[in-house]
Symmetry: C2
């Protein structure tokens, strides 16, 4: 089983190293063996090879059974053309592998309720999934660009969806809802955008095949409030690429455990890219401060979804819970009475528990 | 002094009626006199006149010194073409009057800290303004529309900004920051969108004229987290129309007082539209449940910004604080030990206090 390890920028390398450690611990004692190979991506790749997704990286990723990803992009490349920006390497990879369904489960770990800025009673029991469409929308729509007219600069991007693009992610959402609490909230801005009107129409059409799942529609601005006020109201949230980018980060923050949340980007044929929800956090990179648990939990999703190793996935998740139960914490989730660990030491603790 | 009163849909009419009551109380006892005239807008206007912004309404608004607005649009019109949607009446009005600067102050009322889903220590002292660009972006960009290709429906919208559009709202933001804590956070998605790259460049250019204000840039997804985690970090947030729509609602929710928050949409020449941040909330319309304080505080902003009646604006705001201090609450901000009032009774209490 081939795993491409693309650690990328900022804290990407240090947290991914702990996930690799956890995968090695799974292999020890006659466990399944993984062929893991690293390749550069992001600003790091651009700085070294002049390309945020070098051809050799793209090729390795395409041949792998699954991809373990860290983070891509730092502020340094924001004002450069797309082809030179770290984040663009990730975007191209998503598109190339057609990873259209990005699942971001948000779960309120009972051990970490105190770490949230929300009241315990508001977040206790939160268990939702944001399903973000990942290969279309304003991220990829054309035309896009910039120009000068009458001495004035202007710039444009295109939000665009086809019926098929909406339908397949919506189906993935209804399937997920069926395995959960059977509630699906489709998020759009149908009172303003034609794209959102199409989104809503297709949601209603696909829903006919899932009469056992309750569908409701909410505006993106309303959801950004609703998530903060009553996050327990949500089961599966399905939304477009840009709204999903914003809402999933907000949702991830609610439970106080953004450093704990993994994500899976799937293409419907088993291939997947697995990455922590948090980004490259350049400000704390290289300081042994980052929480590696989101990356380790992403490796667990990789075992489950791409390699079909359910028992091993569960073992890895159990190890994480055990380490938390033993009172070990990184700085971001630190609480009185707990034992503070650095990135490396937390990775060691989980590997040990496995 | 002419005020156009456009109450609109859902709870719009009942909350606006209380703001009108408060304005009448200001006029009593030899106060300034207002010529207030009502006109239809939104779904209500479409249902009656076949147009969400009838020409007579547009004309009256154009001639007024200021507009007191309620809410526009209900779910019923979401799947209709733009010209038939309630919200579109509001959008056309914003565009027609060039109301490009939408200020949404978010203030943690000490009396209401308990009503938030966030912990008291997270929101105590929050005092920020979201300045949302209101007349451009994907709301108005062309081309937009939908079509069928090879039997597949697709739809598109265009996000577009010119240098001048970004510069003028950025200037408004820097001016506001100067009167506050001199910190400006410009929000974009420059790691993905060309539109955002232009946004960021212009922010940097305008900042040269304001060396006394600190400028920082954050991604929209990062801000949606940051707002929840450490809202006190923000003073003035300046952002585009669609990101501002989402973030300002999230920000408004933080302090537990969305029913309390007014907004002002200004065109740089004194004309303004003043409306509560909350929407039409059709589910509670007509039940005497809505909180009218956001509408009343919007009327106070109207007095201050468009009619230059600072003393009267302050008096109205003081009356609101007094009513809260006396323990009166509508359902949305209700707490143990307080006295619950309906929409009407709350409006009466404020008028009385004035
Ligand atoms: C790095 C960036 C391009 C990316 C995105 O916007 O999709 C990130 O924010 C994410 O959510 O994975
Ligand atoms: C009603 C709707 C068109 C409007 C918008 O999206 O601007 C509303 O959500 C707002 O924020 O004022």
């Amino acid at each position: 089983m081939k795993i491409a390890v693309l650690a990328g920028d900022g804290i990407g390398p240090e947290v991914t190293a702990q996930a690799v450690k956890a995968l090695r611990a799974i292999s020890a004692n006659n466990g399944p063996q993984f062929e893991m190979a690293e390749a550069p991506i992001g600003d790091a790749a651009f700085n070294q090879h002049g390309d945020p997704l070098p051809p050799s990286t793209a090729e390795m990723a395409a041949k792998a059974d699954a991809i373990l990803f860290g983070a891509a992009g730092t502020y340094e490349s924001d004002l450069r053309p797309a082809e030179q920006r770290g984040g663009h390497g990730l975007l191209r990879l998503r598109k190339q592998l057609d990873l259209y369904a990005n699942f971001r489960p948000v779960f309120a770990f009972p051990e970490l309720l105190g770490a949230s800025s929300l009241k315990r009673e508001a977040i206790e029991g939160v268990d939702l999934v944001v399903l973000r469409e990942l290969t279309s929308d304003i991220y990829f729509g054309t035309p896009r660009g910039r120009g000068v007219e009458n001495g004035q600069r202007h710039a444009w991007n295109t939000m665009r969806y086809t019926e098929a693009e909406v339908a397949r992610v919506m189906r993935a959402g209804f399937e997920a809802a069926r395995k959960r609490r059977r509630q699906l909230c489709s998020v759009d801005k149908a009172n303003v955008l034609e794209t959102s009107q199409l989104w809503r129409e297709v949601a209603i059409e696909v829903a006919r095949d899932y009469p056992d799942v309750e569908l409701r529609h909410e505006y993106v601005d309303a959801v950004s409030m609703h998530l903060i006020r009553r996050p327990r109201d949500f089961d599966v949230i399905v939304t477009g690429n840009i709204f999903g980018d914003i809402l999933s980060d907000a949702a991830a923050m609610l439970t106080g455990s953004i450093g704990m949340l993994p994500s899976a980007s799937l293409n419907g044929e088993g291939v997947g890219l697995f990455e922590p929800v948090h980004g490259s956090a350049p400000d704390i990179a290289g300081k042994d401060l980052a929480n590696p648990l989101a990356s380790i939990l992403s490796a667990a999703l990789l075992l489950r979804h791409s390699l079909k190793l359910e028992a091993e996935a569960a073992l890895m998740e159990k190890a994480v819970r055990q380490v938390l139960a033993e009172g070990y914490r990184t700085g971001d989730i630190m609480e009185e009475g707990a034992t503070r660990l650095g990135t490396e030491a937390m990775g060691d603790a989980v590997a040990q528990a496995i």
